[in-house]
C-alpha cells in the first residue's frame, strides 16, 4: 500500500518538530484528519500569523509583536536591574515566578565551542551599552558547564563597567529532600547557605 502523498508530507513535517517522534507524528496526522476544516485552517493561520508578527525586541531580544517588547516598554519595571537569560522561554518562566520586576536580556544560546557557538553568535555585545554604573546584572543562564562559562564570561565583560553582577542561587529545589539531591548540588547548597539570624 502506498500512502497518499499529502498524508506522507504531513507526517514528515510533523515529525520534524522537537519532541514528536515518528509514531506521534502519525497519530497526530490521523487526529488532524478527523478534525473539522475550520480547526485546521485556524491552526495553519496562527502558525503563519505568529511567524509574520513576531520578532525579537531590538533592546533585550525577547519575543514581541511590537516595536519594543512588553517588558522594555513598561516604565514601571525596575530600570536598574537586568536579568540575563539563555532563551525567550526563560523570560516566561521567571515572569511566572512573580519574584522579578526588572528588565531582561535574552542571549539566544550559550557559549559552546564544540557546538560552534562562540560569544559572537549570541546577543552578548548588545548588553554592554545598556549598562550604567550602579545597575545590577543578574546572570541567570543555566547551571550547566556552558551556562556557567557564559556567566563567567559575562562577568569579566561587565565588571569593568561598574555594574554589580550577581548569579542566581544554586541549591536545593523547594519541596526537596537532601537524600534525593546530588552531591554537587548539595555541596553548593551548603557553601551558599544564607544567614538567617540578624
Amino acid at each position: 500500500m502506498k500512502y497518499p502523498p499529502s498524508l506522507v508530507a504531513l507526517i514528515r513535517e510533523l515529525s520534524r518538530l522537537p519532541g514528536i517522534g515518528p509514531k506521534s507524528a502519525q497519530r497526530l496526522a490521523f487526529y488532524l484528519f478527523e478534525q473539522p476544516r475550520e480547526d485546521i485552517e485556524r491552526l495553519a493561520g496562527v502558525l503563519l500569523d505568529a511567524k509574520r508578527e513576531l520578532h525579537t525586541c531590538p533592546v533585550c531580544f525577547n519575543i514581541t509583536d511590537a516595536e519594543l517588547c512588553d517588558v522594555c516598554a513598561d516604565p514601571s519595571r525596575q530600570q536598574n536591574l537586568i536579568c540575563v537569560v539563555e532563551e525567550p522561554g526563560d523570560v516566561i518562566a521567571i515572569e511566572k515566578s512573580g519574584e522579578y520586576s526588572g528588565l531582561y536580556h535574552v542571549l539566544h544560546g550559550v557559549i559552546s565551542p564544540m557546538n560552534g557557538v562562540g560569544p559572537d553568535k549570541l546577543h552578548l555585545k548588545a548588553l554592554l551599552p545598556r549598562l550604567t554604573p550602579g545597575m545590577e546584572v543578574i546572570l541567570a543562564t543555566g547551571t550547566t558547564v556552558e551556562g556557567e562559562a557564559t556567566a563567567m564570561y559575562l562577568q569579566r565583560l561587565i565588571e569593568p563597567l561598574g555594574a554589580t553582577v550577581s548569579r542566581i542561587a544554586y541549591g536545593l529545589p523547594v519541596g526537596g529532600a537532601l537524600e534525593y539531591a546530588d552531591e554537587v548540588t548539595l555541596g553548593r547548597a551548603l557553601s551558599g547557605r544564607q544567614r538567617i539570624t540578624k
Binding site: G19, P113, M114, N115, G116, D120, A149, D182
Partner: protein, 246 residues
C-alpha cells in the same frame, strides 16, 4: 535472572538535552566510548551528575531493541568546576571534541581514557591551560595513530624538514615550502612531541609568541586528517594572541 545492566565509569565528553527532556551523553571510559540516554534526566538529579566534563559512574541498561543504552543510575566521581572559566573553557571543549573524533565506540583503550582525563585535569588546574592543550592534543592524536611526520618532509620526504606546511600542518623542507623555517624552539617541539613524555613537554613550554605557529600547524593537521572541528572558531583569536575570542 538475566542481566542487561553494566556499570561503567567515564567522563562526559558531550551532552545534549532533547526537547523531551532526555539527556544524551557521550562518555569516554577505559572500556571505550559510549553513547547513552538518561530519560527525563533533565528534571532529576542526573542533570547534575551528567554534566559536561564530569567523571561519573553510570549503570547502563541495554535492550536488544534500543540503539542507545539507558543510564539507570549515576554517581559523581569527580568534577572540574574550573573548566567553566573563560580562559579554560574553550580548551576543554577542543580536547573533548578531538577525543570524540579520535576514539570510536567499541574500541577498548585505557590509555585513551587516561590521556583525556589527564588533559582535562591539566586544563582545569595548570596555570598554563593553553600549553596543556597543545601538548595533550598532539598526544591524543599520536595515540590514535595520527602522529605528524617530523623526520621527513611531508611532501617530498627530504630529511630534517624545518618549514611550516600551510596546508597539511606537518613539516616541509625548504624546497617545498614558501614560508620561513620555524624558530628553533618551536621546531624542536613539533619534531619531538610524539616521542617525548607529557611531563618533559610540559616542563619546556614555548614562549607565547611562538605558540600561534603551533596552533596553526595543529589546526591544519587536524582539519586534514580528521575533519572540521567546531571548537577552532572560539580559539580563532587565541591564535592571534588573545586567550578568548570576544
Amino acid at each position: 535472572m538475566r542481566s542487561r545492566s553494566a556499570n561503567r565509569s567515564g567522563i562526559v565528553m558531550r551532552r545534549r538535552v532533547t526537547p523531551a527532556g532526555d539527556i544524551i551523553v557521550t562518555l569516554l571510559t577505559p572500556q571505550g566510548k559510549i553513547k547513552a540516554i538518561a530519560r527525563g534526566g533533565v528534571r532529576g538529579s542526573q542533570a547534575s551528575r551528567l554534566n559536561l566534563f564530569h567523571h561519573v559512574g553510570v549503570q547502563l541498561y541495554q535492550t536488544p531493541q534500543a540503539d542507545l543504552a539507558t543510564v539507570q543510575q549515576s554517581v559523581l566521581e569527580g568534577a572540574l568546576p574550573r573548566l567553566s572559566e573563560p580562559e579554560r573553557h574553550p580548551y576543554a571543549h577542543l580536547l573533548s571534541e578531538l577525543a570524540d573524533a579520535l576514539f570510536q565506540e567499541g574500541e577498548f583503550s585505557e590509555q585513551a581514557f587516561e590521556l583525556y582525563a589527564g588533559a582535562l585535569r591539566g586544563v582545569s588546574h595548570h596555570p598554563d591551560p593553553e600549553w596543556v592543550t597543545l601538548v595533550m592534543s598532539y598526544k591524543l592524536l599520536s595515540l590514535a595513530g595520527f602522529a605528524p611526520r617530523s623526520r621527513q618532509c611531508a611532501r617530498c620526504a627530504a630529511p630534517d624538514p624545518a618549514h611550516p606546511d600551510p596546508l597539511g600542518g606537518q613539516l616541509l623542507c625548504g624546497a617545498c615550502s614558501s614560508q620561513p623555517p620555524h624558530p628553533a624552539e618551536r621546531l624542536e617541539f613539533l619534531r619531538e612531541v610524539p616521542r617525548r613524555s607529557v611531563r618533559a613537554l610540559m616542563d619546556q613550554p614555548l614562549p607565547a609568541e611562538q605558540r600561534p605557529g603551533v596552533w596553526r600547524s595543529l589546526e591544519r593537521f587536524v582539519t586534514v586528517q580528521i575533519g572540521g572541528v567546531q571548537s577552532w572558531r572560539s580559539l580563532a583569536s587565541s591564535l592571534g594572541g588573545e586567550v578568548v575570542s570576544a
